[in-house]
Symmetry: C2
Subunit: 185 residues, 2 copies
Amino acid sequence: MSTPDRLIESTRELLWERGYVGTSPRAIQQRAGAGQGSMYHHFSGKPDLALAAITRTAEEMRAGVEEILGGPGTAVERVSAYLRREREVLRGCPIGRLTQDPDVMADPALRRPVEETFAWLRDRLAEVLAEGRDLGELDAGLDPGATAATIVAVLQGGYVLARAAGTPEPFHQAVEGVLALLSHP
Amino acid sequence: MSTPDRLIESTRELLWERGYVGTSPRAIQQRAGAGQGSMYHHFSGKPDLALAAITRTAEEMRAGVEEILGGPGTAVERVSAYLRREREVLRGCPIGRLTQDPDVMADPALRRPVEETFAWLRDRLAEVLAEGRDLGELDAGLDPGATAATIVAVLQGGYVLARAAGTPEPFHQAVEGVLALLSHP
DNA sequence: GTCTATAGTGTGATAGAC
DNA sequence: GTCTATCACACTATAGAC
C-alpha cells in the first residue's frame, strides 16, 4: 500500500472513531507510519486528507448498498436484507457520524459527499419501496419517500441507541420493529 | 443568574453545538463571562462541568417527554404528539449527539446520564404502546419494546438526515413515515 | 519523497495575589 | 470568589536539508 493510501486509510479510521475535530494530523501520521513531511507532501492539510477519506468511505457505502438493493428478491426481501445486513453496530455509521461534526458541516467540500450519500440512499430505497407498492407487495397507500426516510432514520438512530446502551441490542430491536410495521398490514 | 449557573448554561450550549471534544474551557468561560480562576473555583475541570451540564439537560428532556406521554389522550395520540412536537431539528438532540463523542462514552460518569435517559425513554414509550395495544388501539401482535426502539431511533436518525440535508424536511418525513406505518393497519 | 526543526496558537490546568 | 500569570503540552502548518 502506498503512503498516500495508508494516510487515507488512517484518516478514515480516525474520522470514524473520533470524528474530524478529534482527529489530529499527528495521530494520522503515526497510524499510517508516515512522517509529517510526507503527509504535507501528498496532501495540503487536514481538510484535504479528510475529503479523500470521506469520499472513499461514501463510495464504498454506496457500492455496498447497491449490491443488496439492486440484487435479486422482492422489494420487502431486499429492504429486509439491507436492514439486517451484518454491521459493526457499536462503531456507528462512518458517514452519519460526520453529521455531528460542526467543522465538517461548515466546509462545503466536506459536507457535499455526506449530503449526496444520504440523498442517494433515500432515493434508492424509495424506488425499491415504490416498486413493492406497485406490485401489491406493500400497502397501496404507502408513501415511498417518507417510508424511505423512516428506514434510513431507524438505522442512523439505531446506532445512537446502541452506543448509548453500550450494546447492539436496541439497534436490532429498532430494525425488527420497523420491519414488523412494514410487513404486517 | 449565578456564576456557576452561567458556566453550566454555557457548557450546555457548547456541548450541543460542538460536542465535548470541540468545547474548550476557554470558550465556556468567555460565553459565561467568567474568568479562569472563577471556573476552576466552582468546578474541578472540564469533566466536572460537563457532568453538571449533561445532568441538567437530561433532567429537562425527561420532564418534557413526561409532560406529553403522561398527559391526556389515547396512546397513539400521545405518541404522535411526542413525535410531532416542535423541535430545533437542525440543532440535533443535545443528548443523542453525546453518543458520538468518544471522550464522553469513555467516562463512566459522563456516560451514565446518556445511557439512563435513553433507557428510560424507551421504557416509557413501550409502556404507552403496550397500553394502546391492550386497549385494541394498536395491532395485537405489536411488540412494545421493539416499536419503542424504532420510534426513538426514527427521531435520532431524523436529526442525522436533517443535518445531512441541511433542512428539517427529512426529519418530518421520517416521523410521518413511521406514524403512517403505526396507525395504518 | 521523506526527514527534522521550528513556529504560532490553543488547551487544560495550577499558583498565588487580591 | 475572582483575578492575572504561568505551565507543559498538543495542534496545524511551514521551512529547508537530505
